[in-house]
Amino acid sequence: MKRYRHAASGILVPLAALAFWQLLSTMGWVNATILPSPMQVLTKWWAYLRPLEAFDPTQGSYLKWCFSGELPQDAMGSLYRVLVGFAIGTGLALPLGLGMGYSKVVNALFNPLIQVLRPIPPIAYIPLSILWFGLGNPPAIFLISIGAFFPVLMNTVTGVQNVDSIYLRVGRNLGASRFTQFKRIILPAATPYIFTGARIGMGTAFIVVIVSEMIAVNNGLGYRILEAREYLWSDKIIAGMFTIGLLGLGIDTVMSRLSSRMLRWHRGLEQG
């Protein structure tokens, strides 16, 4: 009961905002080109979402047809770039972070360079990325992997460095080798940090994908809303923005579900 009441109250503010927005449009207080009405956005959203051609069994499966609309294609394009970029960024950050956290020597070698590169926003790499990789997916994926790299790296280093020394003492007492200590104690103890880093990295990757599509790619959600601006299709811009919002929310929900599933042992915030 309580849960439903919470859900109901959560819907109250969005509904009020929507009603106010509709009122602005209906009363003609704002220009429809500057701010189209919610209904107009919804209509456009549907048009953007649905398949362009009628279903034709000779052209492939029904499922494929369902996703043949412009919006699903854009969303899948963006998602693909996010996932590949994230995988590359994380794949590089994780081993380096584990090494830097574990070994003072590795840390001393890499930390100065990392600290200089870290404050550079991924966006600042755009000129170089186009120079190096041209246009299309490669520069976008390059930028996204940079966006994902640093949060994962920094959190992994912190996670490994913050492993409570009592666990290592127990490990030594039980006779664990250095490798066992690393695999069975340091790595699991650091996972909550690593997961936090991955979640932040995924968020950054999602921001960067939109920006990179505005500059280097000819499809994807970021490209589409910029393209819509050229035609003054503000309804399509807003529909695209909401899609970005929902997709981002979806990714973050998946990430946090995944981490709470894998970290069932972890003392949650609610327990202090």
């Binding site: 009592i166 666990y167 003492r169 127990v170 030594r172 007492n173 039980l174 006779g175 664990a176 080798s177 066992t180 069975r184 104690i185 699991p188 103890a189 996972t191 069932r264 042992w265 972890h266 003392r267 327990q271």
Partner: protein, 266 residues
């Protein structure tokens, strides 16, 4: 070193540097513990009892002097001297049974043998119903049971215990003390147990070794010749308790004066 000595501590010093001065955490400690003996180290905080325990465990070696276990010098921590820590120190990412099995996996035992051993330890410590739980879902008393089971799994002849029951409520504490005595009688371990509770030392130990505050020396090595199970309300128990209280009070006063001086200097 006497022949039947299980743990032998000879002329051990441990010196720390503090504010440019040498502080003797341990000074000229001699202690012989025979096989199967239950010895408590008793003293106020800062008296070096944990330092001595860590030296026997091999976590921090003495500045000078010798520690032998079974005639072999101690140079590093090892599973022949299982340690139960004050803070439980269970691995939070492992379930109860995984925690207990960890030491056996390191040893490289066969899977079936590990399972059998874990099962018997779960039964021995009444943990069967909690085998799949994570430490965060256990009470303090339960966690310390798991920590004891984890050490017992190693079959180490020596158990080192660093104020293991310090954080528990009185009832749980007495419960675990009885449990520990039962295990000790059954498994014939040599136990070196650190505590600051006089009653705990007298309730458990064959011998209670009272340590002094800085420099850490042995003030009194008292044999507790009371029959078990011991009655904490008996006149004999209380006489010993009074004797130890007086000894401990002197050390506590020196500790407090020292802290007071330290505060005045600051």
């Amino acid at each position: 070193m006497s022949m039947d000595s299980h743990i032998s501590v000879q002329g051990v010093h441990k010196v720390f540097q503090s504010g440019g001065q040498d502080v003797y955490a341990l000074k000229a400690i001699d202690l012989e513990i025979v096989r199967g003996e239950f010895v408590c180290l008793l003293g106020p905080s800062g008296c070096g009892k944990s330092t001595l325990l860590n030296a026997v465990a091999g976590f921090s070696l003495p500045s000078s002097g010798h520690i032998h276990v079974d005639g072999t010098p101690v140079t590093a921590p090892g599973p022949d001297r299982g340690m139960v820590f004050q803070e439980y120190a269970l691995f939070p990412w492992m379930t109860v049974e995984q925690n207990i099995a960890f030491g056996l996996q390191i040893k490289g035992d066969a899977k079936a043998a590990i399972q059998a051993k874990v099962d018997s330890l779960l039964e021995l410590l009444h943990l069967q119903d909690f085998r799949k739980r994570y430490p965060k879902d256990l009470s303090g008393g339960m966690r310390q049971r798991v920590a004891i089971a984890r050490v017992l799994a190693l079959d180490s002849p020596i158990m080192l215990m660093d104020e293991p029951f310090g954080a528990l409520d009185a009832l749980t504490r007495r419960n675990l003390q009885d449990e520990l005595l039962r295990l000790w009688t059954e498994l014939k371990k040599t136990i070196l147990f650190v505590t600051h509770s006089i009653e705990e030392a007298l309730y458990l130990a064959d011998r209670t070794v009272v340590m002094t505050y800085r420099p850490g020396t042995i003030k009194r090595d008292l044999r507790v010749d009371l029959a078990r199970p011991r009655d904490v309300a008996s006149p004999g128990f209380n006489a010993l308790k009074k004797e130890l209280s007086l000894l401990l009070m002197e050390e506590q006063n020196r500790h407090e004066q020292d802290e007071f001086r330290g505060a005045a200097v600051d």
